[in-house]
Amino acid sequence: MMTPLKKAGLAAALLVGFASQMSALSLNGAGSTFIYPLASKWFYSYQQDKGVEINYQSIGSGAGIQQLQSQTVDFGATDAFMTEEQMSAVQGGVIHLPATMGAVAVVYNVAGVDTGLKLDGSTLSKIFLGTISNWNDPAIAALNSGVSLPDLKITVVHRADGSGTTSIFTDYLTKVSTAWATTAGHSTAIKWPAGVGAKGNEAVAGVVRQVNGAIGYVEFAYAIQTKMAYAKLKNKAGAYIDPSMDSVSKAAEGALRRMPEDFRVSFTNASGEESYPICGFTWFLVPAKIADHAKGQALVDFLNWSMDEGQKMAPSLNYAALPDSLVEKVKAKIATIQF
């Protein structure tokens, strides 16, 4: 039944499978897709530098939490911080460590309308609720005098799969719109009042690009990479701000003042003149007590590295580096990990 080809393949595979890479240690992590491009750069560089292999897979924030609870991975990463209930399911306790920050951009595709359309929280939520269904609606026009808006149906595009990006986006909408809060709420996956779903940031970007009149939300990196038109959003202070690493950092500074000891905070709709309203942390989730001493040491070493070397790599990939004062606090927290 097995052709010679298959037999050879099997033999080769088994051979390679058993041949060790001769690296002393390997760790496994799982979670957020948001941080994946940055994380893969970190782990690659770290392996080149220190020889420790850290294998991270972006199966989703919720899945990362699940795996951490099942003890099948050594650490997780999430865009939405864990609830008390989830935390209690991790043996020995779990620590949240901010790793990086990112923004969610509102992208759109309307023929004749350039990038930089102004939108505020109320209008944005009405669009996603479906109550504003045409681009030439007076509410949009009121914010954008001088822009000629066509008579075109709005096609809302949202995420089909559960995601941290959705979590951050809906968290913002919940804060700025009571209608949204009571109808849809916020989570990694919700019941969307309007629109079609696309799987993954890439698909949302893809559909928005193809359909005239579409509007959607994607990680900021996507908007930049695919050169899409994105909106200026009105922040809490009343200014219209573009998403950028700068405006994200400014938003984080606002959050720093009321940062809880365990770092579990959301800073959407942050105060500050130059803050961008839709941004969030991605946290590493680490067990408070690690049984394997060698693994614990390796993990802690990496975490400290991520706070120093790692943060320097963030801007080139459109991620915002953590503010220095926050880095100090995170390092202090890392020192409390027992192994």
Partner: protein, 330 residues
Amino acid sequence: MSSTVTTPETSPGSAPAPSFGNNLKASRSALPSGDRVFEGLVAGAAGVIPLLAAAMLLLLAVASWTCFQEQGFGFFTTQDWDPVKEHFGMLAFAYGTLASSAIALLTAGPIGVGIALAITEFTKPKYREIAAWVVETLSAIPSVIFGLWGMFVMAPFMRAHIEPLLVHIPGPFFREAGTGLSLLTAGLVVGIMILPTVMAVCREVFNAIPISMRESALALGSTRWEAVRLAVLAPSTPGIIGALILGMGRALGETMAVTMVIGNRAEISTNLLAPSDSLASAIANQFAEAASPGHLSALAALGFVLFLITMLLNMAARLLVWAVANRVRH
């Protein structure tokens, strides 16, 4: 399957003349135990299958229990799917699964049989293998690639060229054009995906019919098509249904490709051009990020429902085969 007997050139069972009596004794006692061992072996292997099915069903039932407790019977009757309010219902997804699979079968069935016929009956023998090989490569393409193709090529094509034409058809099925991400697109993409399975099995079934059958029909003066219809299609009906059942199985469970083109909207609508969602797609999309026990349980419940639907449809298909077979046997 090694034998205790003999060199290859002697036919099995024959013995060299001198020790005739001994060999007869040997082969007689070898008969029952060899057969028994073999029977046990194959039966055991076969038994793995219902065991697996039972284990899976059990796992799904246990995992869904919380959901059934919290949602009650309403889970089976409501379209509402709200992870935030923890209110779950399977109706929209079940509709999507059934409708998209139906479209897939309606596409893949006739076309698959047609291709199998074209390859086995109407092609010169030397081209047959190549033609079969070409279509079988379709089965090698990963589901995720089909999904990407569906999203970047098929859906825009549907939106730009096909939907504007379809909306002219009166009736509830093509009421309003959409984004190309729709029930229809999903059904068509899955149809293309199950085509190789249907075609390959049909091909095997058609090939097994002796040439003499076709020749007798032709000798009686039938056209090529009539010969095929009488000598090949008629006796193959149960085999064709078997092929369709295999295809249906895959269609019901297809995940990646469906989720990328179906539009992911948990809402029942007769409009085939509207976005929809399917059981498998919902599970795949939400499982990774579902962190609340209620949500996870609801997803397991969707899996349970899908399992049940698959069982029911298979039962119905079997009844169909039985009915056809009984009608034929007159």
